[in-house]
């Protein structure tokens, strides 16, 4: 089912939480909503679920306008950061709850619950009390419960935020694959842009109630629409420059410009766009962090700006060392000043 938000605005008194947001989640697609806290991503999700009625605009699921349909009649599955399991019921009863509300016969409910618990690899926990489970297990139960009703759309609100890093990575891969297999249409809210990149087919970056950019993970990372997106998604170096005659002039150095920009521009260069060795940028390494698979270094440029570099440990300069940096023109993105 396609989910469509058209010009949705949500105001709480004087505050505009969501400001004229239009988004379409295609059938089978996972769309990530990312942004800093307070950017309106959760309100957008709650509007899609039916817990908030938009001040303006419409919500439709599968082409039907559901703007004023209450959540229990919308066929949406919800997964929360706090898991929100029903502690008065066993794991199996939690999974069966939605089916019971739909008056599905007991044996059919049991069969469906078993199937989902197996799918999520927690069949052995069926008779346990949710409070005795670990965070990762609880989240699997939460997901099984939401999937049990075969929702037209699955809404996930920061589902991995409470989990430790290693478990998070494993669950991201597992659940990402599961959502693909089941061909579920999903809206995935997270403040963690790297999680969105793993889990989502497309990402909508929100700020201040507005959608700043919608695109695939590589589009958003490599060709950010503006400085906010460049800054929020991944680490970025943003350097002011003047584009003239196919070259970028930084004042202390020049390089070739990637495409036809003219005038004052901001150059977005990811840490991996710099190469240490022979190049026009003279810089002094100020700090150096060994991270195992790579070294992150912060270097000062002649004009006082600093850049973050990502270097192979074998070639990493030491702190205090003078280095020459080359900028790989095909890996930078230029934003014209507006």
């Amino acid at each position: 089912m396609t989910v469509q938000l058209a010009n949705v605005t949500k105001e709480f008194g004087q505050t505009t939480a969501v400001d004229d947001v239009s988004l379409t989640v295609q059938q089978g697609e996972t769309l990530g909503l990312v942004g800093p806290s307070g950017c309106g991503k959760t309100t957008t999700l709650r509007t899609a679920a039916g817990f908030e009625t938009p001040t303006d605009g419409t919500v439709s699921i599968g082409g039907t306008d559901v703007t004023h349909v209450p959540p229990e009649r919308r066929s949406v599955g919800l997964v929360f950061q706090s898991y929100a399991l029903f502690d008065n019921m066993s794991v199996r009863e939690n999974v069966e709850f939605g089916l019971k509300m739909r008056d599905v016969a007991a044996d059919e409910r049991a069969a469906r619950a078993r199937e989902l618990l197996e799918l999520l690899d927690i069949a052995e926990l069926a008779d346990r009390d949710p409070t005795t489970l670990s965070g990762g297990q609880q989240q699997r139960v939460g997901l099984a419960r939401a999937l049990a009703i075969e929702p037209e759309v699955l809404l996930l609100d920061e589902p991995m935020t409470g989990l430790d890093a290693k478990l998070k990575t494993r669950l991201q891969e597992e659940i990402g694959a599961l959502l693909d297999d089941l061909d579920v249409t999903a809206l995935y809210v997270t403040h963690d842009q790297s999680e969105a990149m793993v889990m989502c087919d497309r990402i909508a970056v929100m700020n201040d109630g507005r959608v700043e950019q919608v695109g695939s993970p590589d589009e958003v990372y490599e060709r950010p629409a503006n400085e906010f997106v460049a800054d929020f998604v991944g680490t970025s170096n943003r350097l002011p420059a003047t584009a003239r005659d196919g070259r970028l002039d930084f004042g202390y150095a020049t390089t070739a410009a990637p495409n036809g920009h003219e005038g004052e521009v901001t150059v977005v260069a990811r840490p991996e766009a710099f190469r240490v060795g022979d190049g026009p940028f003279e810089a002094t390494v100020r700090e150096r962090f060994y991270l195992g698979e790579h070294v992150r270094a912060v270097a000062d440029l002649p004009d006082g700006e600093s850049v973050t570099l990502r270097v192979d440990p074998a070639e990493a300069p030491a702190a205090g060392e003078q280095v020459s940096l080359a900028l790989q023109t095909d890996r930078v993105h230029v934003l014209s000043e507006s």
Binding site: S82, F86, N88, M101
Partner: protein
Amino acid sequence: MTDPSRGEDGAQPSSRPRPDGGATVSGDGADAPGRPAGYGSVPDRRPGALSRVTARLGRTAITGLIAATVVFLIAPVVITVAASFAREWTGLFPSGGFTLENWKQALGLAQTLGAQRGLGSVSLSLLGLSVTIPFATLVFSMALALGGVAINLVVGVPIAYAVTRYDFYGQGWLNTVAVLPVVPGIILGIAFLRTYSHLPSAVALVIGYSLLKAPYMVLAVQSSFESMDLRQIEESARSLGASWPRTFLTVILPNAKRGIVSGAIVCWTLAAAEFNFSYIVYSRGPKPFSLFLFENISNNPFLRVAAAVSIYFCIVVAVTALLQATGQRGFSIGGAR
């Protein structure tokens, strides 16, 4: 055999902080580059004599203290119950052997002058038939307190829910009013007499009990609600297709079970023992329990008092157990169980 405390002290003297409190880090502490001036001047903590003693004896001391407190609190109960079965009590210990006479008198079963004051059976003449209901008064007075609890459940639980779950105008006030023990029983009693002078005693008592004890219900239930993520639990249930009333009955209430049961127990116990309000408001009809206790206590020998108090203990224990048991079973109104 080595003394463990000596061995511990003597084993690795070099790893101990210096007794003069000086820094164990050598030399460069204060002058090291990048450190703020005076770094390293904070002396290591040296446990004082008292903390050394408590470290060694702490557990024993606390266990002993708790045991003494428990004995101190339980002893009167044990002595009272024992006395209620005694024929005589003149010295330090009860004497004269075992008897049920005190209980009989307190319950109004004995053919004595105290009978009409006790909680004995009530005889009704109905259609020419005389029916005797044993302990009717006792049951009735327990029901008065239970009535207060019932009102608190119906009114207090939704208030606790609303205050925890929603933000609304006047929320702070509602919360304050609901959890403040508004007025002492004696003042509420006088106010009731003035305002509702025609209300039957029983009705006035039930309403008064619910008003006086409401804070205990609201607080207990509120703390249960606060320990769960009410909004997300509720929204999960609704997204799964449960209507709001069904969500409230099958998910929200059962999850607050602990608070509801403990709130009900506290409310009942306190309502049953509420004397001031009962004394002012009661005029006729079956007596509230606290008045039964009072009359048995005020002008009777100690052994009879002991029996009355023991009856009260028994009833409190029985009702508490009953409420607990109801709480264990009775929370699956149409739920998934």
